[in-house]
Amino acid sequence: MLRVKGLTKNFGGLKAVGSVDLSIEPGQLVGLIGPNGAGKTTFFNLLTGYLRPSSGKVTFEGKNVTGKKPHYIAGRGMVRSFQQNAIFADFTALENLILAGHIHSGLNCWQAILKTKTCRRREREIYEKAEETLELVGIGDLANAQAGSLAHGHKRMLGIGLALMCEPKLLLLDEPLAGMNIAEVDDTLVLVRRLWEDGLTILLIEHNMRAAMSVCERFLVLNFGRTIAEGTPEEIRSNPEVVKAYLGTAADAA
């Protein structure tokens, strides 16, 4: 589904991401982990068109999407969430999702302006789907609350809802658990698991190792922009490179 080959990004002399390879098959739930500054988010930005790679190639469902615009990549079904609270703050929660739904409504601008019959029918469908999605991410009761006034955890869930409204084939989640309390972490993990079981392919960036270990079936570990390990949770846990990256060497510890 997703093939990444030799993806590299240099910021001046700094190699933020250095020739990373990754391939994801449909139905997988892959974790991307690594210490702070390992290049995880940069890697996401390269995949989704927010940054132009210095070299390397990204292929999604057989199509070369390297260096394409974010909206094009999202339209092809590779949809991301953001680490910061990326929501439309002045809209209500429901309006946020409706906006995301409209893009894939297949309506042209004349139908939208003149509010034709097809348009109204599609808008009703989008409205219903937005309500369902709000329920799915657990904030169904906050549909008419202004998004900017939601609690942190709810904003994060709304962010995931936005991505889900785009009918993703591959969902890229950028640290969905950041800043959440324990209960919210559990809810989010249940949601991720459920989305995956429903057939969605997911690439998950996570800082919280334990949480990531509990859901992902395969991992890619980055440090200083390079792949230092790849494999199942067991393999990762026992990999000395990974342990060193996370805990530092004996000398550092002393």
Binding site: Y50, H71, H102, I103, C166
Partner: protein, 326 residues
């Protein structure tokens, strides 16, 4: 919600009928002339607001009006086009096309940088019409632009006839702008304004929408430019130069940028003000600036927020009074 929608529609209809009746029964040339100017400025301010909706503060508007005005003037006096209506349409379309051409590079810039390019655009247009004497008549401008051809047996000679034409153009423009705003396109503009990289992530081609907003605004600016020149039958380079462009923005902010009605209220009041306060003519820019400052500090939602504020104050008063007496 449906009820408020209907009552709003009702108020608009009543207002429109009153405007038409006023035009029919009132025959003071001067007042009708001011009325036409008000309606032109209402459309200019409302179309500028549409661009602002997409998160782009444009100061290019006067450039599009000038472009539209000169397009009509040149076509009708130099090229010898026979249909004034076709010239009017070309004024609008040309402004929209130029908006697309400059919009593609300009909308890549964000915030204040985009705004600055607008000022630059207005100056380029003004300088062009000043220097290109063989076509535009230089600083003297162009005179003797013919009035609109008669249509459906209506001759455009009296102030009343122009007043009616202005009503038609204004209503058509406002209905289109309103339809765009309440559709998903308007919603997308607002989304882009709030978070444009997030909008990209959910599949919105933000460049296309930003350029579209710019072009739609440009279209109506060009249309009004064409209408203006056919109305006063002359144009010079600075009628819609930099200062008038700033005024258009002031109409929007003073009236209230967040509501559709805001720019209309702002444009109407601030077009009438200089006429009422004739002796202060040379102080007008200062007065406008002062009004703008007062509004920004005391009434950031604009004049349309005033009734709501007053109701709030009155409610508070009536609530407090029993306490005070007891």
């Amino acid at each position: 919600m449906n009820k408020t929608k209907r009552s709003r529609f009702g108020i608009a209809a009543v207002f429109l009928v009153a405007l038409v009746l006023f035009g029919v029964f009132y025959s003071g040339d001067y007042v009708l002339h001011v009325g036409v100017l008000v309606m032109i400025n209402v459309v200019l301010a409302s179309s500028l607001r549409l661009i602002n909706l997409s998160g782009q503060l444009s100061l290019a508007h006067g450039g599009f009006v000038t472009l539209g005005a000169y397009a009509s003037a040149v076509l009708l006096t130099k090229v010898g086009m026979s249909s004034t209506w076709l010239a009017l349409l070309i004024s609008a379309v040309l402004a929209a096309v130029i908006a697309v051409v400059i919009g593609i590079p300009f909308t890549r810039l964000k915030g204040i940088y985009f705004t600055i390019t607008g000022i630059f655009f207005v100056q380029v247009i003004v300088l062009t019409v000043q220097q290109w004497r063989s076509i535009t008549g230089g600083n003297g401008g162009l005179q003797g632009v013919p009035r609109p051809d008669s249509i459906l047996g209506i001759e455009f000679a009296s102030k009343t006839s122009f007043f009616m034409l202005a009503i038609v153009l204004m209503v058509v423009s406002l209905v289109i702008l309103w339809a765009i705003e309440r559709s998903r396109i308007g919603m997308t503009f607002l989304g882009i304004k709030q978070a444009d990289s997030l909008a990209e992530s959910i599949g919105i081609n933000t460049t296309v929408y930003k350029v579209a907003a710019f072009a739609i605004g440009g279209f109506f600016a060009g249309l009004m430019g064409g209408f203006y020149v056919q109305y006063v039958s002359a144009v010079d380079p600075t009628v819609f130069g930099f200062l008038p462009t700033i005024y258009m923005l002031i109409y929007v902010i003073v009236g209230g940028e967040d509501s559709f009605l805001g720019p209309m209220v702002g444009a109407a009041l601030l077009t009438i003000l200089p006429e009422v306060a004739r002796p202060l003519q040379s102080w007008m820019p200062l007065l406008f600036a002062a009004i703008l400052m007062v509004i920004i500090f005391l009434l950031p939602e604009g004049l349309v927020g005033l009734p709501h504020r007053l109701v709030g104050v009155l409610k508070k008063r009536t609530k407090e009074q029993p306490d005070a007496t007891s």
